[in-house]
């Protein structure tokens, strides 16, 4: 993985978001640089849900924030609806951001504890002066209803009075207040109980249809992504491993890392337990990533070539792109 390359880019007029050669690095000490995202490219086509999957520390959250310019990346382009956000002056960026909203992992920390639900959802409408008081109140009620909350019961309560699942519903209502075209969900369900996860995933699917959204969905769990995505991108240490539609990726993963990720998902059936090819150890430090393919240190199929040369993304079956010298056939 480690792979670079742009073979998977579709470059169509339908692209809502196109990211090219995005690089994000942080200086943590005098000569220690964390290479969080290294020259990564992808595009998201209208109506699509792109899932970005990888372990903690693979750079997926950093990537999402860099797309939103929070903070801006060190290099690369982020083209949203034909505009490169990295070149926009601050004031234009502020308004460009409204067409791309984010849902965060920690539902409680993403809501100001001092504000009532009404204030929370009114906030974006107020910033952009959308309608008068009555129109805004009506919109807030509609948004709350659409995420399955009773406006009369919740409007005057504060975030700490709600469960994680309910907070996530409030976050979704708030994110949709400005009618964004794109929603970036950063691990929106990983802090929730399994039974609540399903509710939020179904809600997101429903919202996507109702509001005609294009989505980027970030997760560490391939199972969560399966029900919701139309394209899956697997990341490791700031690079892409594999990009494929879900029906191909889950049935025939081509990258060793994808297969290892699939094997780690617990299966609620005692007769179908997979105990082979589990990943051992932890990812190496992003301050000093391995040469060549970044996954080679934990890969069962690694060869000498993997240390020397960085694999490039290539198409191994229709729509399935993999950055590996020795893909699983």
């Amino acid at each position: 993985m480690a792979g670079s390359g742009t073979a998977h880019m579709r470059n169509t007029v339908d692209s809502v978001l196109t990211v090219r050669d995005l690089t994000v690095e942080f200086r943590v000490a005098k000569d220690k640089i964390v290479k969080a995202v290294s020259g990564l490219s992808f595009d998201v086509v209208r109506g699509e849900t792109l899932a970005i999957v990888g372990e903690s520390g693979c750079g997926k959250t950093t990537l999402a924030r860099a797309v939103l310019q929070l903070p801006p990346p060190n290099a690369g382009e982020v083209v949203l609806n034909g505009t490169d956000l990295t070149l926009l002056p601050k004031e234009n960026l502020r308004s460009a951001r409204t067409s791309m909203q984010m849902i965060f992992q920690d539902p409680i920390s993403s809501l100001d504890p001092r504000m009532t639900v009404h204030q929370l959802i009114d906030e974006p409408l107020e910033i952009w002066d959308r309608g008068n008081r009555a129109e805004r109140d009506e919109r807030i009620n509609k948004l709350l209803q659409s995420v399955g909350l009773e406006p009369e019961l919740v409007l005057n309560r504060r975030s700490y009075e709600f469960s994680g699942g309910q907070c996530q519903r409030i976050s979704i209502a708030r994110a949709l207040a400005l009618d964004p075209r794109m929603l970036i969900c950063d691990e929106p369900v990983s802090a929730l109980d399994v039974s609540i996860q399903a509710q939020i995933l179904n809600l997101l699917l429903h919202m996507k249809e109702t509001f005609g959204l294009t989505m980027v969905f970030i997760s560490h769990d391939l199972a969560v992504v399966k029900a919701i995505s139309t394209r899956v991108m697997v990341m490791y240490l700031g690079k892409i491993c594999e990009v494929a539609p879900p029906d191909v990726l889950y049935a025939k993963p081509a990258h060793h890392y994808t297969r290892a990720l699939l094997n780690s998902v617990p299966i609620p059936d005692p007769t179908k337990q997979i105990r082979t090819e589990l990943l051992q150890g932890e990812p190496p430090s992003p301050m000093n990533p391995p040469s060549g393919c970044r996954f080679r240190t934990r890969c069962v199929g690694a060869s000498a070539l993997c240390a020397e040369q960085e694999p490039q993304l290539r198409e191994v079956s229709p729509g399935q792109f993999v950055a590996c010298h020795h893909p699983i056939v």
Partner: protein, 286 residues
């Protein structure tokens, strides 16, 4: 918010005492007493609970109750003004430092640390003796100038203390995801500070401000005792300074202002502590 009835008995007493002190500070001069500088020539050094002088008089014939009320006005005025100014300037600097980060933060944090490294009393002492004294020793420095200088020097002492607390709290809160969320909704930084940072940082600052009021009252008293504060019994510290000479013959002259001062400081500390616990509890819920 906190309800008076839910507070513990001691805390209720503290709140009542502070209420009384505020009342005396504001309305003390309208009470039907002689002016505190009035000298009762027939009642010198009368002990407390004497007829006409509940708290007694000192050896110069000043009534201690009216003196204490006047002292309340001065001490509370100085404390609240200094803490208010220090809090305002300190939190503005602290919040700016933490929100802007980078070089601004480096400069301001270093300034705070330098400020904290200088002993408070020495700094105040130096400022007062430079600013509030005349070259010509025979010309009396007007009292308002002494008060202003005292307030300014106490404010300078408080800025780094409160500034650092504001900076720390801002760092915590601005790392929360709701700040990122607000940014992604297109909120301006100035609005983020106004709507998300200040309201969350304020409660912590208010709790510390109560503690600071106690510290300032004591600092003012110490300066008066050292002879650079409010002269001639105009504040609690001034009363202590004047009364210490008579400790042997009329100890109550010293005890009265000390008791006022002590109960007030204990009360502000207690209220500050209760506020802080209350806020910690809310934090734990979040």
């Amino acid at each position: 918010m906190l309800k008076f009835k839910e507070l513990s008995k001691p805390t209720q007493l503290c709140v009542l005492w502070i209420g009384l002190m505020l009342f005396l500070a504001v309305f003390g001069s309208f009470l039907p007493f002689e002016h505190w500088t009035f000298v009762y020539e027939d009642d010198l050094g009368v002990t407390p609970f004497s007829p006409g002088h509940i708290l007694g008089t000192d050896n110069n014939g000043y009534d201690l109750l009216t003196s204490a009320i006047a002292g309340t006005r001065m001490s509370i005025f100085i404390a609240i003004t200094a803490v208010g100014l220090g809090g305002l300037i300190g939190s503005a600097l602290g919040i700016t430092a933490a929100f802007v980060r980078g070089k601004v933060d480096l400069v301001l944090s270093t300034a705070f640390n330098v400020g904290l490294a200088i002993p408070n009393l020495v700094l105040a002492l130096a400022l007062v003796s430079v600013l509030a004294s005349n070259v010509d020793m025979t010309v009396v420095v007007p009292i308002w100038r002494r008060v202003m200088v005292l307030i300014i020097s106490l404010t300078i002492v408080l800025i780094p203390i409160l500034g650092r607390i504001a900076r720390g709290a801002t760092l915590t809160w601005s790392g929360r995801e709701f700040v990122t969320a607000a940014r992604s909704m297109g909120m301006r930084d100035s609005q983020i500070i106004k709507k998300h940072i200040v309201p969350n940082v304020l409660p912590a600052l208010i709790a510390v401000a109560f503690l600071a009021i106690g510290v300032v009252i004591i600092a003012e008293a110490s300066l008066s005792l050292l002879g650079v504060g409010i002269p001639d019994g105009g504040s609690w510290g001034g009363m202590i300074a004047r009364g210490r000479n008579d400790l042997e013959y009329s100890p109550h002259v010293l005890y009265i202002p000390v008791i006022f001062l002590a109960i007030t400081v204990v009360s502000t500390n207690q209220i500050g502590e209760v506020l802080r616990n209350k806020l910690d509890g809310r934090e734990a819920k979040v």
